[in-house]
């Protein structure tokens, strides 16, 4: 089998957006190998479709990446919706007081489980907004909603996470 040259516009898209696509995929599937498979799949779809008539390539590719990641997550039947019992995990999380103190791997795993228990719309908005490349406007384009709706969802998601963290870490969180 011989390798043919990729179209220059597709190559430019790969070089510019592959890192973003990987992060979107990783935020959903939480696995490096699966995230890379999603990246490959996304750019195969992009190459098949072509870039003619695409005004906002970043938003378009992000949307493809999001859908491919969610499909892959569903395909492998990840148990994201299981209940998170704060009493079981009480004392397993340590909230550092300073910026310099690193967050442990165990704490991040617990955070993953807490996020997985959030309602789908709030979880999706929170995951996209957490990416440093993604603004609330772009997240709204990916999820097909308004920017205001995205902000509201993110606010509610953070509130719920804080309440869970409060129970687990024993800290008080009042607003």
């Amino acid at each position: 089998m011989t390798a043919n040259a990729v179209a220059p516009e597709i190559e430019a898209l790969v070089r510019e957006h592959s890192r973003l696509v990987f992060r979107i995929a990783y935020s959903v599937v939480r696995n490096h190998a699966d995230a890379e498979d999603v990246v490959q799949e996304v750019f195969l779809r992009v190459a098949k479709h072509g870039v003619a008539g695409i005004a906002d390539a970043k938003a378009w590719i992000s949307r493809i990446a999001w859908r491919a990641s969610v499909d892959r997550n569903r395909q492998f039947d990840r148990k994201n919706q299981e209940e998170f019992d704060e009493r079981v995990h009480a004392g397993h999380i340590h909230l550092p007081g300073t910026e310099q103190e690193a967050i442990s791997r165990e704490t991040l795993t617990l955070l993953d489980r807490m996020i997985a228990t959030l309602p789908k719309k709030e979880r999706d908005a929170l995951l996209l907004i957490s990416l440093e490349e993604m603004s609330s406007t772009e997240a709204a384009k990916v999820l097909g909603t308004t920017e205001t709706s995205i902000r509201g969802r993110v606010f509610r998601a953070r509130q719920k996470l804080a309440e869970k963290l409060q129970k687990v870490a024993g800290t008080k969180y009042g607003r």
């Binding site: 597709i10 790969v14 992060r23 490096h32 995230a35 750019f43 190459a47 967050i103 963290l165």
Partner: protein, 207 residues
Amino acid sequence: MGAENRRPESENLDRWLDRALRERANAEPQSGLEERVLARLAMRSPKQQFAWWQVWAAATAIFVIALTLSLSYLRRHDQVVNEQPHSVSPEHKIAPNQPTMEQRQAPTQAPVASGRDATCCVSTEMVAKRTLPAVHTQPEPLPKLASFPAPHPETRQERLLAQLAGQSDIVEVASTSTNSAPLKELSIPELRVDPMEGTPPDNTPLE
């Protein structure tokens, strides 16, 4: 006092949540991701296009073959239905002496024998009937079955035999036809044998 204590705690929690979410989201891919993606794109794209062409070509070929086969099957089926013998019902039997349309229209070309030849004492009408057997031209509806299971269709040999029987009927009809020429009267003279010399007369007993 409680509210003042709560504010720094909540800010602390907010900051921690921001950091945790950022750290969770900002994963780095393994080095060389772009090259791997490009390499896979280069390997995949021509093959996929070719596969689509192949699929279309195969689908078209299968459609054409299926259409041809179905048409030829239908044609053959019609032919078989037309050729099937109708031997079950007597009303579908073909009368051997009934002339066909062609026979009625076309003039008889058979040679006519003179009245002297005894073997050729068949009228021209009879010759025409014998040489052209009746043929079904119009497909007729299949007969209703009188008995179950249905009787076997006639074999080729049976059909030939039936045709021969039909021809013998024609010969019989020909021999009794009024048009045929009368046979010559044969006169056989009486046989007379003279007795040989030296032989005793018939009434003398032999010793």
